[in-house]
């Protein structure tokens, strides 16, 4: 009896100790952390200094936009609680009250005005292309005017991150870039270039503190090394899992592979000018619609998907994905022009090019997934209908200035295009609008495509402030474009992620890994 | 009679080359007594230097000592290990090289190079070593010795450098000094100064010296005894004055005749006809026969032994020359 009581007491003591220990433990566990392997280091932490992916991912941790873009490309309130149109071109945005920057400053309309003002003068001025003027109505209301009715202004504003006017002015551009201050869910702790960026949760975040207390981003450029880092436990999540490593990671139940079709459409722009720079013929054969159709039919997109992309790509149906305005339900390049080398050859003959022609394809060798292999496959496929494809491959540093409009050295260009704003119109207006007609239109129309009907439809779409109408006009344009074939869409890349099984993460449509949406389970 | 300081008995030093075995030293015997100067004479390529290196155990592969004994102070040093041999070198036996321009290490001060010997072979402290170096430099006739210690070899003239080399050789009180053509590389005017210096130093320290040279004139001034070498073999040896006055071997005669003399300036200098033959291709018989005016058929058949001829002279010749009157 005595003994038993003793044991019981001991047991209680023991349990108490255990309890103490477990609270200590849970306190420790409460400090959840996550390490993410990115493809590269952030270049800037000033959202108006650059826009590549790694920087973008970091921007959205540190700053907030007025309008939040959700993982599925829907849009909702961000720093702006609500907004309304007062007339066709005037928007009023009401700011959330009591939002604090990391330095303790409160968010005011003046910060938004400062941000937009600075944006207009920055390298990223393009983000504010559809903003004509702006002013603060009161401390928490901002008025923004668009140059013409523009239904998707909130979508655009999702890419404009709000800076603290006082801080940026005091610290200067350089410091603002190195030691950013925003309202975002995370604060910067340390940035060791090319090694790691450490963030800690902003306890005062307006939408509630993040579930993960510490997030470390590590740049690991080599895909295979990234996989290795995941497998050795150095990181918890990796971006851009190597296509090659998918099976290996999948087969290990400590890890999971996550996929999401990306928004990046890999397309071939076809020169429509009468004389094309790399074709040694008096008349550019590709001005003939039948030749363009033959080209589409000669390209076996599913073979590229299977063999080169390991099944990890989505053949594109149209120029924009289904989630976007301008997507025409039920229409698909793959159904309209299925792979059919025989038909393709017949079309070539019909157009008078039975013997084919020689043309140069300009492409990158380090920008898109397996870009080199894709163009080699294209060469062999088009070779079958006697289009002799010469490949001109270059690194992206040379590529984008080489192909820049007016593209006077190019006949065929393979490049990618994505529209994270979810609005097909923004793509159509710059890529398919006749060149040189209107400022801000047709500036990347690489094939000099011109169709008055398409121009008119884009004009109409941009003239309405109603989203539904805009969508309608753009869909009409899509219909014409799919018949005209100014570009051949190939596929969307697949965004691949791998993570430890206990990491709860859903890939975003815009590829922006956002720790605020991520949790780690025990 | 006391045992000589150095006694070479049938020394054989061979070099293995691609072309065959070269017997650079082929059964050489002679001795050196304490306090004595022995001249080792012969044309270049005659194996004189190799004897010097053999004594010090400095013959590098592909060469090796193939036979014979090198008895120094009663023990055969040719059988010593490297470590023991190091104690012999520099302390018991020192060597002076032909070219003073190259025998001093260009990157160290001469003080350091002198000091090295003392550090290796004495227990003196630094100050004492320095004093000794200075004194030795003064002894070899270098003025301002103290400051010169910190100078580098390239700051000295050739003659001065040879003085330094001699100083180094004498520094540890060696009992035998091997001087390999010590004056050949020097100006004629400096030559005799150096020779006098060496002679004086040897006499003062009581050391013995082997003077290796091709120049009989030098030997006649310096040496007590002469050993004449030809193709790796001793062809004649004896007291200097006897050899000079009346050699028994035609080769020595030839060497003597090629020395210019002030007395007979009308006579043309006589050179030994021909050149030293390739040692590798020597067959049986006397190796000098091809150049010898007195050669007989016997000379091609049998190699002559080194035998006493007359007086102190030993010669290896079937037909030794008669004593000149």
């Amino acid at each position: 009896m005595m003994n038993l009581r003793l044991i019981a007491t001991k047991g209680i003591l023991f349990a108490g100790a255990l309890l103490l220990a477990s609270t200590a433990l849970s306190n420790q566990l409460y400090a959840k952390s996550l390490t993410v392997g990115l493809t590269s280091d952030a270049v800037n932490l000033d959202p108006q200094a650059g826009e590549e992916l790694s920087s973008n991912i970091l921007f959205y941790h540190i700053y907030d936009p007025l309008v939040r873009r959700n993982a599925d490309l829907t849009f909702g309130p961000g720093l702006a609680e609500s907004w309304k149109l007062t007339d066709d071109t005037t928007w009023l945005f009401s700011l959330r009250k009591g939002v604090k920057f990391h330095n303790g400053e409160e968010l005011k309309a003046s910060d938004v005005v400062f941000t937009l003002d600075r944006l207009k003068k920055s390298l990223m001025a393009n983000l504010g292309a559809n903003i004509a003027s702006f002013k603060a109505i009161d401390d928490h209301t901002v008025e923004i005017k668009t140059p013409r009715p523009y239904a998707v202004l909130p979508n655009d504003l999702a890419a404009v991150l709000i800076l603290n006017a006082k801080y940026v002015k005091e610290a200067g551009d350089e410091q603002a870039d190195l030691k950013p201050i925003g309202t975002g869910p995370y604060k910067l702790v340390e940035w060791v270039k090319e090694d790691h960026i450490t963030l800690e949760a902003n306890k005062d975040y307006y939408a509630g503190p993040a579930k993960l207390d510490t997030v470390v981003f590590r740049p690991i450029t080599n895909g295979a090394t990234r996989t290795a880092a995941l497998l050795t436990g150095e990181v918890d999540v990796i971006q851009d899992l190597n296509v090659r490593d998918v099976e290996r990671v999948k087969s290990d139940d400590r890890y999971k592979v996550l996929m999401r079709p990306s928004l990046l459409n890999v397309v071939l722009s076809i020169d429509q000018r009468d004389k094309s720079p790399t074709i040694d013929l008096d008349k550019n054969p590709m001005t003939d619609r039948r030749v363009r159709e033959a080209m589409v039919r000669a390209i076996d997109v599913s073979a590229i998907n299977k063999v080169i992309m390991n099944g990890l790509s989505t053949p594109s149906e149209q120029y924009v994905p289904a989630s976007h305005t301008g997507y025409l339900d039920g229409a698909s390049f793959r159904d309209m022009y299925p792979f059919d080398p025989g038909k393709a050859a017949a079309l070539m003959a019909e157009a008078g090019y039975a013997d084919g022609f020689t043309v140069t394809l300009d492409a990158t060798n380090n920008r898109y997934v397996n870009d080199q292999q894709i163009v080699q496959a294209l060469a062999s496929m088009l070779g079958k209908i006697k289009i002799n494809l010469k490949l001109n491959l270059m690194p992206k540093s040379n590529f984008f200035s080489y192909i820049r409009v007016p593209s006077d050295k190019s006949s065929l260009i393979m490049s990618g295009w994505d529209v994270p704003s979810g609005d097909g119109g923004s793509m159509y207006s710059v890529m398919f609008y006749s060149r040189g007609k209107k400022e801000g239109y047709g500036q990347v129309n690489r094939g000099s495509y011109s169709n008055a009907q398409v121009d008119a439809l884009i004009d109409k779409a941009d003239a309405t402030s109603k989203l539904v109408e805009r969508d309608e006009f753009l869909q009409q344009a899509t219909k014409i474009l799919m018949t005209d074939i100014p570009m051949i869409p190939l596929h969307y890349e697949q965004d691949l992620y791998a993570a430890k099984t206990n990491v709860e993460i859903t890939p975003r449509a815009d590829k922006f890994l956002w720790a605020y949406e991520i949790d780690v389970k025990e | 009679m006391a045992e000589p300081l150095l006694d070479l008995r049938g020394l054989q030093t061979h070099f293995q080359t691609f072309g065959g075995l070269v017997k650079a030293v082929d059964g050489v015997s002679f001795n050196v007594k304490a306090g004595e100067i022995v001249g080792l004479v012969g044309e270049s390529g005659g194996g004189k230097s190799v004897i010097g290196f053999s004594i010090l155990g400095l013959v590098d592969p592909p060469g090796r000592i193939a036979g014979g004994e090198i008895r120094f102070d009663g023990r055969d040093i040719s059988k010593l290990g490297e470590r023991e041999m190091r104690n012999v070198r520099g302390r018991d036996i020192a060597m002076v090289f032909q070219d003073p321009m190259t025998s001093l290490n260009p990157v160290y001060t001469i003080g350091r190079q002198m000091d090295e010997v003392l550090r290796l072979h004495t227990n003196l402290d630094e100050a004492a070593r320095r004093t000794r170096c200075i004194r030795m430099l003064e002894d070899v006739g270098i003025s301002g010795a103290e400051s010169r210690l910190d100078a580098y070899p390239h700051q000295f003239s050739g003659g001065m450098r040879q003085r330094v080399v001699i100083a180094i050789a004498l520094l540890a009180g060696s009992r035998l000094i091997i001087a390999d053509e010590p004056t050949t590389a020097l100006d004629v005017t400096v030559q005799s100064q150096i020779l006098k210096l060496m002679r004086r130093q040897v006499q003062e320290t009581g050391a013995a010296m082997i003077l290796i040279t091709h120049d009989l004139a030098v030997v006649s001034e310096m040496a007590d005894r002469v050993v004449v070498l030809y193709c790796g073999k001793v062809v004649e040896r004896g007291l200097t004055e006897e050899v000079i006055r009346s050699p028994a071997h035609p080769y020595t005669r030839g060497l003597l005749d090629s020395i210019p003399r002030i007395t007979d300036r009308q006579r043309r200098l006589r050179q030994i006809p021909g050149t030293v033959p390739d040692i590798r291709t020597l067959g049986a018989g006397c190796s000098f026969r091809g150049r010898c005016a007195h050669a007989q058929p016997l000379c091609a058949e049998r190699s002559p032994e080194l035998v006493p001829v007359r007086g102190s002279l030993d010669a290896a010749c079937h037909f030794p020359l008669q004593e000149a009157l």
């Binding site: 290996r248 490949l391 491959l393 270059m394 | -």
Partner: protein, 290 residues
């Protein structure tokens, strides 16, 4: 010279195992590069001959190896051995052609510099000095990044870094050569400068260049491989050995080692053979060490 070639040189050569080994290696590689395409059954760059189902087959001696593909296949079902043979042709061509260009340009400049001296000499030699203070790899890397990739560009970049050594060597030997009396005599005899250079100076300055050229081919092959590895060398349509290694880099971590290991091994043996041979030539032709 003739006698040297016929007797001692040949004698030494035959008794120098490394030299024989080196030249055998070089010879083997040369044969492989010239006749190799006849030996392999697949043209790795004819897409129609590729069987995508055969991708990443390991070498034949491992599990899953296919006797068709001795050294395995890459991600597109390309025979690694065939790729290596085709790649070696490109690597060797670049190495040799760039050496030839460097040699011609460098020798010309060196002759001019040494023979005429003066301002021209000063300028050429200063440029050479400045260039020598930079590693050739860095210069080539920079040129390639400025001009874009391609075989022609590589040749230009390699020539730009390679001429210096010839110019300096030739200038040196020219200077010592024109001191000699027979040149003076030729001048007195009224031979023109070009004739003196061509007939008397040039033949006498060429010997040291043989060694330089041999070694340089090896180092050019390495530099080209490095540039291609960094992605600023040859284009994917003309893959050299270096590019093959680069292509294999990504899959190396997935345990697929043969697509990069074999091309690299091949580069090593190729350059090793060249260096062995060059070493022998250096020992033979450099009078200072003989």
């Amino acid at each position: 010279m003739q006698r040297l070639l016929s007797s001692e040189f040949v004698h030494n050569y035959r008794h120098n195992i490394p030299a024989v080994l080196g030249s055998l290696l070089v010879l083997a590689f040369a044969c492989l590069a010239i006749f190799g395409p006849l030996l392999v059954w697949q043209d790795p760059y004819d897409v129609s001959q590729l069987e995508l189902m055969d991708s990443f087959k390991p070498p034949v001696w491992l599990d899953g190896g296919d006797p068709h593909y001795l050294l395995g296949t890459d991600g597109q079902g390309r025979d690694v051995l065939a790729s290596i043979i085709y790649g070696a042709r490109i690597s060797a061509f670049i190495g040799i052609a760039a050496m030839a260009c460097s040699c011609v340009i460098g020798t010309t400049l060196g002759l001019i510099s040494g023979y005429y001296g003066g301002m021209l000499d000063a300028v050429i030699m200063r440029v050479a000095d400045i260039q020598l203070s930079f590693p050739s790899m860095l210069i080539a890397l920079f040129l390639m990044s400025a001009f874009g990739n391609g075989i022609g560009m590589i040749l230009i970049a390699l020539t730009a870094v390679g001429w210096v050594v010839y110019a300096r060597t030739v200038r040196g030997s020219t200077l010592s050569e024109i001191q000699k009396e027979y040149i003076q005599a030729a001048r007195v005899a009224g031979l023109s400068d070009t004739e003196i250079i061509r007939r008397h100076v040039l033949p006498n300055v060429l010997t040291p260049l043989i060694v330089v050229s041999t070694i340089q081919v090896g180092s050019f092959i390495l530099i080209e491989a490095s540039l291609s590895f960094l992605g600023v060398g040859v284009p994917i349509t003309e893959p050299s050995l270096g590019l093959l290694v680069k292509e294999g880099f990504d899959v190396l971590f997935s345990g697929i080692w043969w697509t990069s290991a074999f091309p690299g091994l091949f580069i090593m043996f190729l350059v090793f053979g060249i260096n062995l041979f060059g070493d022998f030539l250096r020992d033979e032709l450099n009078p200072r060490l003989r």
